[in-house]
């Protein structure tokens, strides 16, 4: 429980993808309207007292400063307070965390968290290159490392140590594309085979194109409120029971280990302690699979399996729909897409629907506790949030 209790009472997102039809403002507005709609008219927009905006690439792609007004304008929220959160790819979950803490503090009753990213106003390669800047990785800028490297560097060591095979990584992509095919909001809705993953174009060896999340436009929104008034907005509120956030070095050469990530491990431990649960209590998880190997790292960092056993655990089917702990039923970043600032918020949207039994064909039966795992940069920041059906 966070303070006196904070609940999610509405969630909405736009279809992720190459949204050449929509700009930043349209994406944000679409997610906001979808969230209001999910509450069936029981949330009066004027009840929302403050908002948190998560967006990462404004300064890099649009080359302009992004402030809270970048949300207040398209939604017509002014003069209400809007705080812009930027924490690389973990910004969405961190925005949820900070909004929840503001509600828990008693200052606000009802708040909005909205994540939005417009990435495909640039060619995919240029967009990839612009992301260099989200890593605080100044050391690398002239040296040619891009974001896939930040996870591929773990894969090299995990394979070298014999804890992982190249096929295990491909299997993550196969699983998540299978899940994403069931999600109408996902970007890549076509199943892929292991051979297709292994045979697609190399990006950063051993990662191929199908091991990497697509460059995505999208937006997602949730409305949070004090738990004691949640029932006035919905009959099935989802309580946010824990949030952990941790940091690690932003450089590759000052990492203390490869094949594990310190910040996610610590963020998860803090979140489990706050929630008073253990990993085996989780029914469904949305993981930060920006690259296939990242999901395998997550199984170990989050304690879903033992260190060095992620490949075995995956191959046993644990992470698939119908498995012991379905991971990324939404399709994850690999299939659903990864509009950076929106991702953490969209993960919570999926957990909201899963816990309320509204996830359609990809529903995890009987899910009561869900977890979101949202990693920024090279693992230099991670936010883990946990929610429970009230």
């Amino acid at each position: 429980m966070i303070g006196p209790g904070v609940s999610v009472v509405a969630a909405g997102m736009v279809r992720f993808g190459e949204r050449f039809d929509a700009g930043y403002d349209e994406l944000a507005l679409g997610a906001w309207r979808a969230a209001l709609e999910s509450a069936g008219g029981r949330i009066d927009p004027d009840r929302v007292q403050a908002a948190w905006l998560s967006t990462a690439l404004g300064g890099l792609i649009r080359r302009e400063a992004v402030t809270g007004a970048s949300l207040a304008d398209p939604l017509g929220l002014y003069p209400r307070p809007v705080t812009r959160v930027e924490n690389a790819c973990a910004g969405g979950s961190d925005a949820v965390r900070n909004a929840a803490f503001a509600v828990a503090s008693g200052v606000y009753d009802v708040v909005l968290v909205l994540g939005v990213e417009k990435m495909r106003d640039l060619p995919t390669r240029a967009s990839l290159i612009a992301q260099r800047g989200t890593m605080s990785h100044l050391w690398w800028h002239p040296r040619g490392a891009t974001s896939p490297y930040l996870f591929a560097q773990h894969a090299t060591v995990m394979i070298e140590e014999g804890n992982l095979t190249r096929e295990d990584m491909a299997l993550v992509s196969v699983k998540n594309h299978d899940h994403g095919a069931l999600n109408p909001n996902a970007f890549m809705r076509k199943p892929v085979t292991t051979d297709q993953v292994l045979g697609s174009a190399p990006v950063c060896e051993p990662l191929t194109v199908l091991d990497c999340c697509p460059t995505t436009d999208g937006a997602a929104a949730v409305v949070l409120c004090r738990s004691d008034i949640a029932s006035s907005f919905t009959d099935a509120p989802v309580e946010l029971i824990a949030s952990g956030l941790a940091t690690d070095t932003m450089y590759s050469h000052t990492k203390s280990a490869f094949g594990m990530q310190l910040a996610p491990t610590r963020a998860a431990a803090d979140a489990y302690r706050m929630a008073g649960i253990k990993p085996s209590d989780i029914d469904v998880a949305e993981l930060h699979d920006c690259f296939s190997v990242a999901e395998l790292l997550a199984y170990e960092d989050l304690g879903f399996c033992e260190r060095g056993k992620s490949g075995v655990w995956l191959r046993a089917g644990n992470a698939s729909l119908g498995g012991t702990l379905p991971c990324n039923p939404s399709g994850g970043l690999l299939s659903k897409g990864h509009p950076i600032g929106a991702t953490g918020v969209a993960q919570l949207c999926e957990i909201f629907w899963q816990l309320r039994g509204e996830a359609g064909e990809r529903q995890v039966e009987g899910a009561r506790i869900g977890l979101t795992h949202n990693v920024g940069g090279n693992g230099q920041v991670c936010c883990v949030n946990i929610a429970r059906l009230s």
Partner: protein, 483 residues
């Protein structure tokens, strides 16, 4: 007046080789330099600054001296990346020379290499410097489709001090003739007045003969340059001094400009002590300059030669910048002339900060130790060798002008501990991708990291070390050239 002598010599040749026959196929009927079968070619991230740094590091190493022992650096080149800005300063930064070291740039003439050694000797003799490092570095080219299109790339470094065993006993200069090769202001390729007989008989021979005579004709050998094989033979006959040991390598590298005579000197010194010899350079229209050297005891010489790889004519033109790919991606961080770049100055010389409390070394320097949080750290030169911790081959990259794929990774520095300290991030260079492996030994070399608005950013990259690649004695290096 002090004594002055040479205490160490090193040469560096980049790994690329372009066969002259390959170029001739595209330009049938065009004559090439006599006796030259291939030319050495710089990689995309090499220039005269990086080659000079490689040769200079090797010269210091072979002489057993530290960069901080050098108080004058002279850099001779006709192919500086800058028309205005000291190339010597960029080399000094890479080497980590003391900031008080004098910097001398000798640009614009192939006589510069010999002149740099002469100036170094003068500086030591008169007490201006205790130890001076003279470096000549070139990557010239002629206009496509001309006889002088194929020119070589390489660098040579000569360390001069009061007690160097190879004593320089005489110096002579002679101005002579009209130019037959020149590079106009703003042009990036040599113009050539193509009459080799005239060039030889009326320009080269009289100028060299005058210098050799002035130094005393009893010299047992002459290290001459920049001349092709046929020209050297001609000069040796005409001037009446003995042959030289280094000729075999010239046929593989091509004309090395101001560095050529110093390569010849390295070859002579590597062959042993005793001989009195002439090291001279000649440039048609400018004349010649030479010095007499006597090695009473052997002088340490090292030839640094990454294993050669064949580069086709298109690759040659790409590396020379004649053919350029699409414009580089817009930089996220503005160019190298920023306050931020100035604060990172130490980064250029691979200097780290060592924690007083736990001993961890951090490269680039940190103000707070990543291992123990200690705040008492002191700057220190980092080791130049290590082993690969992790690496990946990237097929989509933001570097320019290198084509993908480009490998990047983390290297654990030799002898350094610490959980977070003791490692560097680096791009890999000059390495076959299948030679990359966790645990593979690497050396760190000074390379170009990119260029913005004509300003080059230099820094360190990792090169996989193959035990057979560094040849310790002289001119017979570089087997296995693909012709």
């Amino acid at each position: 007046m002090n004594e002055a002598g040479i205490e160490g010599v090193a040469t560096y040749v980049p790994r690329g080789r372009t066969a002259v026959a390959d170029i001739r196929r595209s330009w049938p009927g065009v004559a090439g330099p006599g006796g030259v079968t291939s030319v050495s070619v710089t990689e995309f991230d090499e220039d005269v600054v990086t080659m000079a740094a490689e040769a200079a590091e090797a010269a210091l190493g072979v002489a057993g001296r530290d960069a901080l022992d050098v108080n004058m650096l002279l850099v001779a080149t006709c192919s500086s990346p800058y028309a205005e800005h000291s190339a010597a300063a960029e080399v000094a930064r890479g080497l980590g020379l003391d900031r008080s070291a004098a910097l001398v740039d000798l640009a614009g003439s192939t006589l510069g290499g010999v002149q740099a050694v002469v100036t170094a000797v003068d500086a030591v003799r008169c007490g201006r410097a205790e130890r001076a490092l003279a470096v000549a570095s070139e990557r010239r080219r002629g206009r496509p489709g001309t006889a002088v299109e194929a020119l070589g790339a390489g660098a040579a470094a000569v360390l001069v001090s009061r007690h160097g065993p190879a004593v320089v006993t005489g110096v002579a200069s002679w101005r002579h003739g009209v130019p037959t090769r020149w590079r106009p202001d703003g042009a990036d390729a040599l113009v050539h007045y193509d009459d080799s007989r005239f060039e030889m008989v009326e320009q080269v021979v009289p100028a060299l003969a005058a210098v050799v005579r002035a130094l005393g004709a009893s010299a047992g050998f002459a290290a001459l340059g920049p001349l092709d094989q046929r020209a050297r033979a001609h000069v040796h006959r005409a001037v009446g001094v003995g042959g030289e040991q280094s000729a075999s390598e010239l046929s593989e590298t091509g004309d090395l400009g101001s560095a050529g005579p110093l390569f010849a000197l390295a070859g002579h010194l590597a062959a042993g002590a005793g001989d009195l010899g002439v090291c001279a350079a000649v440039e048609p229209g400018s004349g010649a300059v030479g010095f007499l050297v006597h090695a009473a005891v052997p002088v340490p010489v090292v030839a640094k030669r990454p294993a050669p790889v064949a580069v086709g004519y298109v690759g040659y033109l790409q590396r020379a910048g004649v053919i350029e790919g699409p414009a580089p991606p817009q930089p996220v961080v503005p160019h190298a002339a920023t306050p931020a770049a100035a604060r990172d100055d130490a980064d250029g010389s691979l200097v780290g900060s060592r924690c007083d409390a736990c001993g961890s070394l951090h490269v680039p320097p940190r103000r707070v130790c990543a291992d123990c949080g200690g705040a008492d750290l002191a700057l220190e030169r980092a080791p130049r060798t290590g082993r690969i911790v992790t690496f990946n081959v990237q097929h989509i990259v933001a570097v320019h002008p290198e084509p993908a794929p480009v490998a990047v990774g983390v290297v654990r520095l030799d002898g350094e501990g610490g959980a977070r300290g003791g490692q560097v991030s680096a791009m890999f260079c000059d390495s076959e991708l299948d030679a990359l492996a966790v645990g593979a030994p690497v050396e760190l070399v000074y390379r170009r990291l990119g260029m913005e608005e004509g300003l080059v950013k230099y820094g360190w990259k990792a090169r996989v070390v193959d035990g057979d690649r560094a040849v310790i004695d002289g001119a017979t290096a570089s087997a296995g050239v693909d012709r």
